[in-house]
């Protein structure tokens, strides 16, 4: 026990009491003035950070879901667009074919009609010509008759004229 009274290992009761008093006062002041607000603030912040992380996770999942939805919609839209384009192409093809066909048939009709008209006109012309020829022949015949041609000449004339008409025809 002698060693506790002097030297390095001395335990001074006064210092002991001062330590206890000092520490208790310090702890009390810091408790009220520092630790409580600090711990409260740190806890609140930790809580906030936890909440923020949770919200972020939730938002991430939500955005992932939306992204997938969006992607699906895009895929669907693309498919639809392709479908529409294909349909349009086939429609256009059909339309083109029908137009060309129609044009062809119309052209054919036109040609046909033209041919018919031409033949009609030709027939008419031939008929008219025939009438003219008959008229002329009659004229000629009349003139010849008037001149008193012999019957042989007359016959030769008519035959000649008829032969000519035939070549025209």
């Amino acid at each position: 026990m002698e060693v506790l009274k002097e030297g390095l290992l001395k335990v001074d009761p006064g210092l002991f009491l001062w330590t206890v008093i000092t520490f208790l006062v310090l702890a009390l002041i810091l408790w009220k003035a520092a630790w409580r607000p600090i711990v409260d603030a740190l806890d609140a912040r930790a809580e906030k950070v936890r909440g923020d992380i949770e919200t972020a996770e939730k938002n991430r999942l939500e955005s992932e879901r939306l992204f997938n939805q969006h992607k699906e919609m895009m895929d669907k839209a693309k498919e639809e667009a392709a479908h529409i384009i294909a349909e349009g192409k086939s429609d256009a093809e059909g339309l083109k074919n029908s137009i060309v066909e129609k044009a062809n048939s119309e052209a054919k009709d036109l040609v046909e009609r033209a041919k018919k008209e031409i033949s009609l006109a030709k027939d008419k012309a031939v008929t008219e010509l025939k009438a003219e020829v008959v008229y002329l022949s009659t004229e000629i015949a009349a003139k010849l008759i008037a001149k008193n041609l012999n019957p042989n000449d007359q016959k030769a004339f008519i035959e000649d004229a008829l032969a000519k008409i035939r070549t025209v025809q």
Binding site: G7, L8, L15, T19, T22, A27, L30, W31, I38, D43
Partner: protein, 286 residues
């Protein structure tokens, strides 16, 4: 380096002047033991108001060590009260490095000292005590690293006082949580054979007191040993009166000084964490 120069200077100017006359023992004792302050304002107060012993045993005269404790306590107040205000004001965390430094240490106490040893809902209640003890011990330890200052925690009365509070905490918390009798009955582990109980009970009681005693000695010895080594390294210069020894011993004492900085942190942590462990475990019967 400037610190080191001051440090060396303070030791040489305070102890080195009469190195021929003083033995190494005297120098060590001069630096590591307490002295009643007899000069200045405090000396006057000591003489006038505190000269009689309180209850006959407590010599309440203000000594160098008491002064060091007060400086450490004052530093705690100066540091932490503004920090508290700033932390409270900055909801999303302060940008200030100063605030963040202390926040990290407080979080360290929270995560490493209090949380592992206390139930979840007692953590908040236990924080003030362990923060106080950690930072008070830390400041006392570091104060001793400043030239001209002394390490209050390098004294058995100081560490004993702090450990006594831990003991009081253990018994107090135990008696509140387990009931006045439940606590003492709970000292003996459950499931031991009945005939061992008379043997176990005194052992557990002794164990109860040995825990704070170990705290006392650990902190005291760690804080004292480093200082003794530093002083002895520097005393070698006076002993040999040689530049070569001077270079070696100053380098050596610098190394020990850096080690002491580390030890100051480690011991503050160990004191706090062991206190937390003891008090935390006294909440439940074994």
């Amino acid at each position: 380096m400037i610190h080191l120069l001051h440090y060396v200077n303070s030791y040489i100017s305070s102890g080195g002047g009469e190195a021929e006359k003083e033995s190494m023992y005297d120098i060590v004792m001069h630096h590591l033991t307490d002295h009643v302050i007899s000069t200045g304002f405090i000396g006057k107060i000591n003489e006038q108001y505190l000269s009689t012993k309180l209850f006959g045993i407590f010599d309440m005269r203000i000594t160098r060590w008491v002064l060091m404790m007060w400086i450490a306590a004052l530093l705690c107040l100066i540091v932490f009260i503004p920090i508290a205000r700033k932390v409270k004001k900055a909801k999303n965390g302060s940008r200030s490095k100063w605030v963040n430094l202390w926040e990290v240490l407080i979080s360290f106490v929270h995560d490493e000292v209090v949380e592992p040893n206390f139930d979840h809902h007692y953590v908040k209640k236990a924080m003030p005590y362990f923060c106080s003890i950690f930072f008070f011990v830390l400041f006392c330890n570091l104060l001793g690293m400043i030239p001209g200052m002394s390490t209050a925690t390098g004294n058995l009365a100081v560490t004993g006082g702090l450990a006594m509070l831990t003991l009081a905490g253990m018994i107090g918390v135990g008696m509140i949580k387990q009931g006045p009798f439940g606590y003492w009955a709970g000292l003996v582990p459950h499931g031991v054979p009945a005939f061992v109980i008379p043997l176990m009970f005194p052992i557990e009681i002794i164990g109860l007191f040995i825990k704070p005693f170990a705290l006392t000695i650990r902190l005291f010895a760690n804080m004292t040993a480093g200082h003794v080594v530093i002083i002895i390294f520097l005393y070698l210069v006076m002993m040999f009166q040689s530049y070569w020894v001077g270079i070696g011993s100053v380098t050596g004492s610098l190394m020990i000084y850096l080690l002491e900085l580390l030890v100051a942190f480690i011991q503050a942590y160990i004191f706090a964490v062991l206190s937390a462990m003891f008090i935390g475990s006294s909440m439940h019967a074994h």
